[in-house]
Assembly symmetry: D2
Homo-oligomer: 255 residues x 4
Amino acid sequence: MSKIRVTVWNEGRHEKSNATVKRIYPHGMHSVIAEGLRRQGDFEARTATLDDPEHGLTEEVLKNTDVLTWWGHMAHGDVRDEVVARVKKHVLEGMGLMVLHSGHYSKIFKALMGSTCSLKWREADEKEIVWTIEPAHPIAEGIGERIEIANSEMYGERFDVPHPEETVFISWFEGGEVFRSGCCWKRGHGRIFYFSPGHETYPIYYHPQIQKVLGNAARWARRRVTLPDACPKAEAVQPIPKHEVDLSHMKNWGK
Amino acid sequence: MSKIRVTVWNEGRHEKSNATVKRIYPHGMHSVIAEGLRRQGDFEARTATLDDPEHGLTEEVLKNTDVLTWWGHMAHGDVRDEVVARVKKHVLEGMGLMVLHSGHYSKIFKALMGSTCSLKWREADEKEIVWTIEPAHPIAEGIGERIEIANSEMYGERFDVPHPEETVFISWFEGGEVFRSGCCWKRGHGRIFYFSPGHETYPIYYHPQIQKVLGNAARWARRRVTLPDACPKAEAVQPIPKHEVDLSHMKNWGK
Amino acid sequence: MSKIRVTVWNEGRHEKSNATVKRIYPHGMHSVIAEGLRRQGDFEARTATLDDPEHGLTEEVLKNTDVLTWWGHMAHGDVRDEVVARVKKHVLEGMGLMVLHSGHYSKIFKALMGSTCSLKWREADEKEIVWTIEPAHPIAEGIGERIEIANSEMYGERFDVPHPEETVFISWFEGGEVFRSGCCWKRGHGRIFYFSPGHETYPIYYHPQIQKVLGNAARWARRRVTLPDACPKAEAVQPIPKHEVDLSHMKNWGK
Amino acid sequence: MSKIRVTVWNEGRHEKSNATVKRIYPHGMHSVIAEGLRRQGDFEARTATLDDPEHGLTEEVLKNTDVLTWWGHMAHGDVRDEVVARVKKHVLEGMGLMVLHSGHYSKIFKALMGSTCSLKWREADEKEIVWTIEPAHPIAEGIGERIEIANSEMYGERFDVPHPEETVFISWFEGGEVFRSGCCWKRGHGRIFYFSPGHETYPIYYHPQIQKVLGNAARWARRRVTLPDACPKAEAVQPIPKHEVDLSHMKNWGK
């Protein structure tokens, strides 16, 4: 079987401006996410960032992408609308999408969900426990009953997204909140996975279980079809007898 | 109990340009839909059309609307984006939305669904049978096992929408197709119902059972809350002990 | 509108044998649950217990019940199978069912869910925070963002139930677990709500917000229809031409 | 990769008593279904029937089954309850189950769905068109937009099952009905697919597209885990401070 082609997209701005982020992700979060996938053997992972030409997401790149991962935060507004439209088109035609952490507020996630995608949040170095809700789901393969993250940004409910088609993980936070941290949807012919752990000031993408989730999710979300949109006029399959238009309900209306 | 406030929105262009449509809906489809609701007693129904100032959908109107119904077709592109954004905001805050027939391709429905909303279609005066799939659903109250429509435009699958949260009706067409003709979703705090029967050249909105479905759906979709969006920083509910940031996974990365 | 008729069912055994339970619920948990509903004004609440003749759930009682609530624990096995079958029949025909706390392991809940309904548990007097996930859902009306329960039995995931059609509440526990504590399903023509708070040694059913949830849920789950089962032979709606049986695929099989 | 182990179960009674069925399926429907899977290369298919000892479904057989297919009709009542319980246990632990045609009324399907599973039906040699609703679903791989079945037993809505988690196919019938003919659910850790085409007096299991659906569905439903049930008492993950039981809500009750 040929390798699954993942494009790991990262805004990449925190890494340029914030000393803590630079220290933890000296080559950017994307480099660690991509390398974590490559080490699993069945992925061909390339990276792209906001500051690349066309944000690194040309038609050519997307056509050759089975799964796109998306991390963004401080510069959601700098992502050009035509690139968002292009990514959306590819997801609806069959490309997988994994939206990570603060990507919940990206243009592309909001465009696919149709809702605000807002949530509660807090930065307090607190502990997060990610519980496996669906142990037989392919995304939970090999994860066990929970992942413990020593320090995490709290993301709390109400998470304003459409009812997930599958809820694979729910998180517990030390400060008292819960969060649907691993959720699946389909849009058009593409599969979408949102996964909340992954704050830029904590080394969460180095966590072996987090990398395993990302690999599992990429396998699950990978492109299976490429079906361009149409709204076709269709020939009848069965013969249709000739009918007069029946106006009886209209004629009875005033009575 | 106070009346449910429905705003019946209609593009209203076919009625101006097409003789058949003029003959069947001399005062516009909106006038028949609104009157059909008023006759049920528990609705206060007003109308609005594309050619009204701000398409008749000012902030003031939407704030005082419990359910908005949407019929559009030939002029989807003329609906201004800021009005679409305003309607979407109100749906996500709790206003109900009923999308009718060719409204499947409206900007507002596509923005809320996140998918292309395309389908197969054919105009052949053919028979449609609308089957009740969920007889205990409030939208099916009093409908019985089926609605027969003597002449209808065929809408056929694949209907490119997210998996409906509830599928109330599925239609059969004489030419051989099927269609999920009555579907429910929630987006944000609002309820959305899509109902496919209602082609402009047939007197479908005069059909007593179709009017009953529209009334039932408006009762089901009516605004229950008004919850403006926020993405709040939250104080902890439980005390959080002071933690050092644990860098062990990062340090083990190269090994 | 006539009152909603609720039958509050309780096993009622802990109350007879355990001093702590006797002290907190001297007249049984059912009496507090029923009284909490009555005080809301729109319910007619009666009670029934395991030790009543036919467990208090005769055909006559069920026929006149809009919603049945179910609390059981130590004597699930003593509930007679024919009474379980009778309750199930009534739920499938349209009666609402609210399954409370340890009722997750009752015969009736397992029969309707089709799964084991097992979970993790712990008695440690710990704090539970019940978070509202769907603030626009009728069951969450007036609840606000959370309910704090000072002492609760921990119920934790994996809760082995079918994917809830709606997840209204998710709970946080002091000891580190999460739980989908308020879940909705439909089976046949009946609505089912499972709500986990309510351990017999804590005064949870006296909590004003818990009573509000029970009232909201009973309004949501109340019987809307009574549709007896059938598997009818159906006359064709459309004429079917006479066909020879086509055996071509069979004839090509060996080739 | 090792082969997927399918056990094809058939009641096998019609084949013994009905001349038409004998002519079309001289070695039983199970032999055609099993052979249709074997020809796809990645399956190891064995068969079992009602009249085998323990219906051919011993603990040993089920433990070594990745997917069980179920066809039954005239003798649902002859399937022993302990075998049904054994099959259910294996599904909940991770074994896949494909329920075929009149198997909708089998004990095992009703036990897993929790509903009556009734439907409308008619034998009139009429045409069925099976429409693909989810073209990107693995079960629809290679099927195209529809399957035409020249002669079929009509199965019509309302099909009394829980809302499908995925609806892959919906059928059109010449006599005017529609039916959700290919539906997916999960129960416990197992995947369930119901597929309605397959009447005993028509050569439907010889149809190449039907065989492709059965192969796709078996790949989709195959066992991924084996997770025995437990309802474990759990040690706390986080330290729980000692709490007094708070009785304030109880004390305020009478006031």
